[in-house]
Amino acid sequence: MLPWGTADDLEAFLGDPLRPSGPLTYAQAVADDKDEAFPRTSLDALQDWGYPAHQVPEALGGRLASLEELAALSRVLARRDPAVAVVANSPVAAAMPVWLGGSPEQRDAVARAVLDGRYVALGLTEEQHGADLVAGEVTARRTGDVYVVDGVKWLINNVRLARFLCLLVREPERSGLRSLTLLLVDLDALAPSSYELLPKIRTHGLCGADVAGIRLRGAVVPVSASVGRPGRGLELVARSLTVTRTLVPALSLGALETALRCTVDFLQDRRLYGGTAVDIPFVQEELAAAYLDLTVADTVARCCVRVMQVLPELGPVSSAVAKFVVPHVVEARMRRLSTLLGARYFLREGHWSGIFEKLLRDARLFSLFDGSEPVVLSALAAQLPCLQEDVDPRCADGVFRGGHAACGPLADLRFETVADADPVTAGLQDVRTTLLRAHPDDPDLATALDLLRTESDDLRTQAGTGLDPRSELGQRQAERYARLFAAVCVAREWQASVDACGDAVPVSWLTAGLLALLRPGERMPRSTAEQMFAALMIEHPAPPARAGSRGEGRTLCPQQ
């Protein structure tokens, strides 16, 4: 049985993505992209299937009961068209502050709108200030029981289609970090003369998405529109981003998965130098490394989603790790895959309708979403002191178990904008001991685990030195922390799947996975590459045995 019934159901509903036309086929994705068209056909099909209900928590009448399931659903879409995945998931991303901190009335109103197929938008950024939210200039002046809002928000997904807009505003009478308030604006109720929707901004990736801005001129919003307490907007946004940053990796993974399949499919038929391209050792090694990256990134993404569900107080760390590691690994890997495709990589037609080049452009945006790489690394750099706190690593055992967990109402997730301790990384010593005991004669594994321990010791020693998170060294330390955390996730998840099902992928894959994170770019041993290549070929057999696209993601725990 596959772990994600709902995702399989969606996959089955959508059918073969290689059909010549139809919703969520590659052909449709490429056509919409070329026309810079809102992907209406595909979104309508998703509406028929009931996708919007998965954007709304169960407690509010929707079907969102598990972030892990939501990630799996997003990935099904991203495999076919990342632009559709972004638009279809924009309600949950934009409404996250409401799910987390809205009043019962606000939650009900937004839930009803989303279930009716309406969109929600999140207005945070401004043209001049980008990630520097504190410098925002959109103001809300309080007069009696209303706010009067003025200013321009920019680069907002779906704002032109939205019923509700979560809008981050400055209250001039407040100051500092507590000067920002998040308002839930009902655009249906806003006086049309008091705002203007700006033209669609043309982009080079996710071309179909409707990204635009809004200009507010004396827009009147009731004081009751504040989501959570006035002045606490920044905090609420930070908490929302913690959740949504955890979900973005699923989109990157979907893109890489299709890019890899597309590449393998081409190379299996490609005749070169008297054989097929997949006979060339270099090609095999590159494909094996891509497969390894996909496996590793998938494991990291899953673990970080589960952290959000079962150990939410660690969310500020795990979300930054997932948001840095997964899009970063995926983008780099897709560029390398493009080398294998040769001239095919940049054709907008032909093999698989030319989906590869669209995936390449679309996937690049995921490292920018919900906090760019430097922003996310700064956030993580500020969390380095977590490594110095003594904490029982067993607190995180619930994260590593292969199974599926509901997360309960999102509003009940208890976490702050910073974490105090890191029970995931704290488990390194135990998992290292267990692994070494089980594999006493594996020098490669021992070397990888030693490297992991050295990284951990180094980072812990330096964690208290008060690095500036925005300095070069601060960013590099944050990257090391992200890679360390991710590697410990991979090790603990591997061990947990041995404990749970008595089996897992070969330990040489684990070693290769740890090194892929800690020493990116280093080549895995030829024997491991051969094994992984063989496994990839079994998963993606040469024609005519080739099946249609399948729904499962890869996991360290073998599929039952």
Binding site: T125, A135, E349, R523
Partner: protein
């Protein structure tokens, strides 16, 4: 490095002035025009025409044919200058040179006249080598030329070739027999083709270079004469391999031109964009990325300029050096542009906006240059094939030397290319001893070099790394699978960095004495280049220091596109000040 002593305006500066300011959106040579044509998937006819009106055709015709082409360095500079505005146009004109080179190298007087006539008429040419099913596997060429009573009959389809739609002539690789002597090159013109014998296929829709006339040509019973054979029948592969050595160097001009523009755009943005109450250029990670990109530009320029000259004065070094240039320079440019995209943040994917969105176009276009004239794996394969012999030559101390002209500030009147001098294999790496020479010069140095200590460390590390590569090659090169495995490619990639380090060191050594520029005399320029190359092989944290700050100051002083058309601001090296 110091600018040339004589500041005569170069051909490239003339061209730049003729094209006008790239930010003036009324001009064909503007970023606006480039981005618009790209969006509409339209060929940039206007810009090509402007370049031709200026006299570009003469620069594609060697002096002995009455043209102005006499120096690859000048050709490179022209191409880089045009690339700063639009790669689509440059690559189309570059395809003319690629298609013409086999004829200039090995053609008959009649063929050369025909070719010169086409170029002077403003026509486009296609280098018709690749085919849909065979890619880089040239020996599998499926287009055939069969003997007839009066000559040859050509059949088959070329695919993924530039200028396919509008080519008036093509150098066509056809199979005339078996094995390495089974390929023959033909210079064919469309006006001689009968109805249906020369059929362009529909334009291929592409992700980069979207406006290009990429496509295919289907030849059907096309009659060719004996006089259309370039060189001798069966000599095709050899001529191709000679041609590609030269063009692999020139491809680097596309990549450097693209990086010129992207770096200028990112630098300009970083100085004006404010976040957290300061320009983002003051954020250390931003400064790091800008400094690294500036360094990679310097490295690319040093390596490519030396290769241009090597082609003319030491052609036997070209098989190795052209593969190193072709692998490394597009790679450096692409990595830099990816890194600069992080500096630009959301601006990197908005259509329009900063400089009309040229960076995003350059990013896509530059990525494609990595494929031209042999992709990265092909060139790494060439380098890997050389490694055992290079290691052996170093071990036996049998390494050739290079004439001073290769790294001097200026080198005029070098002998033009001669097909008879081009080789297929380089026996020893004559660039690499530049590391040892620099080390020795620093050790016994009479010059005060402020960065002497760090320079020595860097140079010594590069030499030690070369020894490690050589050892690894000796250990593993014997096994059969090695040549086509990733480990060999990795060693080749490392070696290309060390080769580039030697080129930078040699350039510095050759020019520092006549320089009065403290950035050069202090060794800062070389520290910047070597650190970047070493940093790519041995990544580690690199806080921004005085060398980086000096580099950033120079980047700030580099003439921006608003001044590119002012030829006084452009020096021999294209205005980069080294």
């Amino acid at each position: 490095m110091p600018a040339a002593v004589t500041r005569r305006p170069t051909a490239a500066a003339h061209l730049d002035r003729a094209l006008g300011a790239p930010l003036d959106e009324r001009l064909a040579g503007s970023f606006r025009a480039s981005v618009d044509a790209d969006r509409q998937e339209r060929f940039p006819h206007e810009l090509c025409q402007e370049a031709l009106d200026w006299g570009m055709a003469e620069h594609l015709i060697p002096q002995e044919q009455g043209g102005s082409l006499r120096s690859l360095e000048e050709c490179f500079a022209l191409s880089r200058t045009l690339s700063r505005r639009d790669l689509t146009a440059t690559v189309a004109l570059g395809a003319n040179l690629l298609a013409g080179l086999p004829v200039w190298l090995a053609g008959t007087a009649e063929q050369k006249d025909t070719l010169a006539g086409l170029l002077r008429g403003g026509r486009f040419l296609s280098f018709a080598l690749s085919e849909e099913e065979h890619g880089s596997d040239v020996l599998e060429t499926g287009v055939t030329a069969r003997r007839t009573a009066s000559g040859w009959r050509v059949d088959g389809t070329k695919w993924s070739i530039n200028n396919a739609g509008h080519a008036s002539g093509a150098t066509v690789t056809a199979r005339t027999g078996d094995g390495v002597r089974g390929l023959t090159l033909f210079l064919l013109t469309r006006d001689r083709a009968g109805a249906g014998q020369w059929a362009p296929l529909p334009k291929l829709r592409t992700h980069g270079l979207r406006g290009s006339a990429f496509g295919g040509i289907a030849f059907s019973e096309l009659e060719a004469r004996d006089a259309d054979v370039v060189g001798r029948p069966g000599q095709g592969l050899e001529i191709l391999l000679h041609t590609l050595q030269v063009t692999r160097v020139l491809v680097a001009s596309f990549a450097l031109g693209a990086l010129d523009t992207c770096l200028a755009a990112a630098g300009s943005f970083a100085r004006s964009r404010r976040l957290y109450d300061a320009p983002i250029a003051e954020l250390e990670p931003v400064a790091r990325r800008l400094s690294d990109a500036y360094a990679e530009l310097q490295v690319g320029e040093a390596l490519a300029q030396a290769a241009c000259r090597v082609a003319q004065v030491r052609p036997e070094q070209l098989p190795l050096m052209s593969a190193c240039v072709k692998y490394l320079v597009p790679r450096l440019a692409n990595d830099s542009i990816e890194s600069l995209s992080v500096v630009l943040g959301a601006r990197s994917y908005l259509a329009g906006g900063l400089w009309h969105g040229i960076v995003e176009k350059m990013r896509r276009d530059c990525a494609v240059t990595a494929l031209f004239d042999g992709s990265a794996p092909v060139n790494l394969g060439v380098i890997a094939d050389h490694l055992p012999a290079l290691a052996h030559a170093r071990a036996c101390d049998e390494v050739d030397d290079l004439p001073a002209a290769v790294f001097a500030a200026s080198a005029d009147d070098l002998p033009w290319l001669d097909d008879d001098d081009l080789e297929l294999v380089t026996a020893s790496d004559a660039v690499h001893p530049g590391l040892a020479a620099t080390r020795e010069a620093l050790r016994r140095d009479g010059h005060p070099v402020a960065h002497r200590g760090e320079l020595l460390d860097l140079v010594v590390w590069c030499e030690a790394e070369t020894a490690r590569v050589d050892d690894e090659v000796r250990r593993s090169a014997g096994s059969a699978a090695w040549r086509r495995g990733g480990a060999a490619y990795d060693l080749a990639a490392r070696y290309s960095h060390l080769h580039a380090a030697a080129a930078c060191a040699s350039r510095w050594l050759a020019r520092r004495e006549e320089s009065t520029d403290p950035f050069v005399t202090s060794g800062a320029w070389l520290v910047l280049c070597l650190r970047r190359l070493v940093g790519r092989l041995r990544p580690g944290p690199a806080p921004v220091d005085d060398v980086d700050r000096a580099a950033l100051a120079r980047l700030g002083e580099t003439p921006g596109p608003e001044q590119w058309s002012d030829h006084d601001a452009l020096r021999e090296d294209g205005g980069r000040g080294t």
